[in-house]
């Protein structure tokens, strides 16, 4: 190579290097982050921390629910028959077992094999839980890595409301973006108390036990002029007027689990909040029904506890009827004045609440949030009430797995199940922004939806609650609207 050729090649090489550097810089500018922030590094570290657990689960594994009465020995025999092995039989989740394939088959094929067995009620692949894949621009590169596993609750894969990976013919990402909310912002706080106004709560359920409110020593037992003093260690029972809100129906326990089954405890499910305080209230009987009077008594109890210093900020109300009660409306208004949000079920009659109101969700009060139910494909559930003026927001409410009586877990459907999802997201928001007023909290929820085409004109916001948006770790959708005033036309 002569000197002239050498200088020419050198000039060309230098030009290419400079061009490559310039393009690289431009790409980094376009991505909006030249160097990772401390928050981004934290997420990356969290993903790395979770990766080994994910890799361990790459062999085909299925979760099987055996019929009631199937013994562990019978489960072992079925598994051996199919050439597999039992990974775990969940002691506290009756009938459920994790099974690892021994034949090198695809997980769906293995699940199908189990479905043909007489002892099996249900089987499905142990789905990989993916971190929220729809990452907003400028967000964390770490989440563009291969999907991380979530908390270690063994039934999390069944909780499509939290993480919808398309399991059981669901629609991927038709969920509340819980994983993104958890990994990037908050898993809840013991400082937030959510009252579950229902059939009581089984406060001994192993997946709820650590998240049940216990009256602090600094707060005196509840005293009512008519009822006298009540030792309200865990809440209040308005049916029997005592301090034992134990659930004898199951409905309230189910709702409580959706809000706050303990997360990452290697047991059962995870609530929207891994940590929170559930205040059990019983006003419905063993049949799942209650009176307006008892509902008012229980709401008054919550207000009094708030005044006594308990940080109860949300009432979750998965019940209702078409009968309007001024007394109940007044009690809910007073709760709002005390800084308590009231999240209520829109009802299950497939009708418009604008035409046929359903109470308490239809009370036009500034602290009421009315909740419709969605299925796992982001479609309004066939049973769900709606109403562009009077139903505010939608949340997953069909085939929702949660805690039940006798230490069990059960799937249930209804706007009853959608309501605690929204109440749970409200608690997550308060875990990081405790000073929000009830109006600010309500507005935050209603502005934090994923717009859904089929909900436009059906409910006020036209969207599904998104926990990540509510926590400010995903951009708000432009379509989310909140009516500015509250009157009978809202």
């Amino acid at each position: 190579m002569n000197r002239q050729n050498f200088l020419g090649h050198l000039a060309l090489a230098l030009t290419l290097i400079l061009l490559a550097a310039f393009v690289g810089q431009m790409r980094r500018w376009q991505k909006g982050h030249v160097a990772p922030s401390s928050g981004e590094r934290a997420v990356a570290e969290r993903v790395e921390e979770l990766r080994p657990a994910r890799e361990q689960r790459e062999a085909s594994e299925v979760i099987v629910r055996f019929r009631p009465g199937t013994t562990p020995a019978q489960i072992e025999r079925v598994t051996e028959r199919l050439g597999d092995r039992v990974e775990d039989i969940y002691e506290n989740v009756k009938g459920y077992a994790a099974i690892r394939d021994g034949d090198g088959l695809d997980a769906q094929v293995v699940a199908d094999q189990y479905l043909t067995q007489a002892e099996v009620e249900f089987a499905e692949p142990n789905f990989q839980i993916e971190a929220y894949p729809e990452i907003p621009s400028g967000a964390h590169d770490a989440l563009n890595q291969p999907p991380a596993t979530g908390p270690n609750d063994p039934l999390l894969g069944e909780q499509w409301a939290l993480i919808n990976s398309g399991q059981r013919e669901g629609k991927t990402n038709a969920d509340i973006s819980a994983m993104q909310a958890w990994l990037q912002k908050s898993t809840g706080s013991e400082g937030v108390v959510v009252a579950v106004l229902d059939s009581g709560v089984d406060y001994t359920h192993p997946d709820l036990l650590n998240n049940i409110w216990i009256r602090p020593a600094s707060v005196a037992p509840y005293t009512d002029e008519q009822l006298g003093t009540i030792e309200d260690e865990h809440g209040y029972n308005a049916v029997d007027n005592n301090g034992d809100p134990m659930d004898d129906n199951g409905h309230g326990t189910h709702c409580a689990g959706i809000i706050g089954a303990e997360g990452n405890n290697s047991l059962g499910i995870s609530g929207v909040n891994w940590k929170v305080q559930i205040m059990p209230l019983k006003f419905m009987n063993a049949g799942g029904s209650g009176t307006t009077k008892d509902a008012i008594e229980a709401i008054n109890y919550v207000i009094e506890r708030k005044k006594a210093g308990v940080n109860v900020r949300i009432i979750s109300a998965s019940w209702g009827s078409t009968m309007r009660s001024s007394g109940l409306e007044d009690a809910i208004r007073k709760a709002g004045e005390a800084g308590i949000l009231f999240v209520a079920a829109a009802g299950n009659s497939s009708v418009s609440n604008d035409r046929t109101p359903h109470y308490p969700s239809s009370y036009p009060l500034p602290n009421v949030v009315s909740v419709a139910a969605l299925d796992r494909r982001d479609t309004l559930a066939s049973f769900s009430n709606y109403g562009p003026k009077s139903v505010h927001i939608a949340a997953p409410g069909k085939e929702i797995l949660s805690t039940w009586l006798d230490n069990e877990f059960k799937e249930a459907s209804g706007t009853s199940m959608a309501t605690p999802v929204v109440a749970g997201v409200a608690a997550l928001v308060l875990s990081v922004e405790e000073k929000l007023t009830v109006e600010e909290l309500r507005e935050r929820l209603l502005k934090s939806v994923d717009p859904i085409d089929s909900l436009q004109g059906k409910i006020q916001t036209g969207g599904r609650i998104n926990a990540a948006r509510a926590l400010g770790v995903a951009p708000r959708a432009k379509a989310a609207t909140v009516a500015p005033a509250f009157d009978d036309n809202n």
Partner: protein, 91 residues
């Protein structure tokens, strides 16, 4: 104590016989079918009753007597008479 379908039908027949003032033998069982109801009051709330908004499985029992058909709704916990002359009853 949890109730079965047969018990629920028997309770419904007894109730209707009493209401209409007829013998249970005069009541014809038109149909008994499994059904999902919209709430825990089986879609048949009584006055001043609030109920959990959870879809509840049970039985729809149709009984015929005195030329009319009457609908009862039941699950493991309860039996209700639906829309009897415009009113719901919990048995």
């Amino acid at each position: 104590m949890a109730m079965g379908k047969t018990d629920a039908v028997e309770r419904a027949r007894r109730d209707l016989a009493k209401r209409l003032g007829v013998s249970e033998n005069d009541i014809e069982q038109e149909s008994v079918e499994e059904a999902d109801f919209p709430d825990m009051a089986l879609g048949a709330p009584v006055e001043d009753e609030m109920s959990g908004q959870m879809i509840s499985s049970g039985w729809r029992i149709r009984l015929r007597a005195k030329g009319g058909t009457h609908e009862y709704r039941a699950d493991r916990n309860q039996v209700r008479l639906y829309d009897f002359e415009g009113v719901n009853y919990r048995l």
